[in-house]
């Protein structure tokens, strides 16, 4: 049943011709939607879970879905030597116990690797060896900002952990030798917390 010819093709084309969403808008839409994925999905049968996952890919596209689920993939920081580097995609071994969280990234401290996860309203630091939760940080209130932190100098000895979004504002997490710093939408430090010790 095709009756498109009954409407001037130029009109149809104009109706369909909507400028694509910017990456920021699209990622914010998808990230916010994914934050509402029911926790019950993970408890359903593998077949059901796969069906839901497949539907999500059909809905938003695999690349967009991957981008939204990988908050550290686009965290570009500029070391002091001026070269732009991208924080490597960080894997996780503790994800099974943190189903409602999204990994921000990892850093090394006192000889072991820590994972940092985010979920409203907390950040959680986990020891990657034992998957023990070392610290739960209540996230500061975020004032939505249209500014983007395009990159900043990471001082020697500091480790870029990754980026994530809260209320549409992109935040960057940096581990110094003594604390975790949350950098806001304009690259400013909006909160810092002492690094947790050994498990």
């Amino acid at each position: 049943m095709s009756d498109n010819e009954q409407l001037d093709p130029r009109i149809v084309a104009a109706l369909r011709d909507l400028p694509a969403a910017s990456n920021e808008v699209r990622d914010a839409h998808i990230a916010e939607a994914l934050a509402h994925v029911s926790p019950s999905i993970s408890r359903q049968s593998p077949r059901r879970w796969l069906a839901v996952a497949a539907a999500l890919i059909v809905l938003v596209g695999s690349s967009a879905l991957y981008s939204s689920l990988s908050p550290s993939t686009d965290s570009t920081v500029r070391p002091r030597n001026g070269a732009v580097t991208t924080v490597p995609i960080k894997g996780s071994v503790c994800g099974a116990d943190l189903a409602d969280y999204t990994i921000v990234g990892t850093y090394s401290s006192v000889g072991s690797v820590r994972e940092v996860w985010t979920s409203k309203p907390n950040l959680v630091v986990v020891d990657q060896t034992s998957c023990t939760q070392l610290s739960i940080i209540t996230h500061p209130a975020i004032v939505a900002s249209g500014n983007g932190c395009a990159g900043f100098d990471v001082e020697a000895g500091n480790q870029p952990v990754g980026t994530y979004s809260v209320s549409g504002t992109k935040l960057t997490l940096v581990a110094t030798p003594t604390e975790l710093q949350i950098h806001g939408g304009s690259c400013e430090v909006i909160a810092s917390h002492p690094l947790p010790g050994r498990p």
Partner: protein, 164 residues
């Protein structure tokens, strides 16, 4: 990928850009929340568009309830077409669409933007197929009048589209 289609449907029904982005967001959240309950009785795309349409229409109703039109679009101050063809030839198609009654606009969007067939549109709108046909025919006619371009419709007559 349905994201772009969902967003386009929301924009064409809601019109105002900021409100349309809100509708898109609400649609995606509703879809994600409802995914575990999708039973496959209708096509996935139909199911998605039904939710998107409802989200867009909810947004339209929210806009109507606003005490003051704080971010009114130029769309809403355009004069209604009187059918005489005296309209600005440069009028944007989307703006012209916004002047249609909501049910005509939504039906046209589902048909010509989402590319759904009559039965799918009827399912989404909860109306008989005949009503879909009449809404399409009237919507096209009004759109043509608003645009002042009688060539908007090619003039080919589809006997299935008699008004009901």
């Amino acid at each position: 990928m349905h994201y772009d289609s969902v967003r386009t449907v929301c924009h064409r029904i809601v019109v105002n850009k900021a409100d349309a982005e809100d509708a898109t967001q609400h649609a995606l959240i509703s879809i994600v929340r409802a995914l575990p309950g999708f039973d496959g009785r209708s096509k996935f795309s139909t199911w998605v568009y039904r939710i998107a349409t409802n989200a867009a229409l909810d947004e339209v109703r929210r806009i109507r309830r606003r005490p003051t039109p704080t971010d009114i679009d130029a769309t809403f101050v355009l004069p209604m077409a009187d059918g005489t063809g005296a309209v600005d030839a440069q009028m944007d198609v989307a703006q012209a669409l916004a002047l249609l009654p909501e049910e005509y606009r939504t039906t046209l969007v589902l048909r010509h933007v989402a590319d759904l067939d009559y039965e799918e549109i009827a399912e989404i709108q909860g109306v008989p197929v005949g009503t879909v046909r009449s809404r399409l025919a009237r919507g096209r006619t009004q759109l043509a009048n608003i645009l002042g371009n009688q060539d908007t419709s090619t003039g080919r007559h589809n006997p299935d589209e008699r008004n009901t």
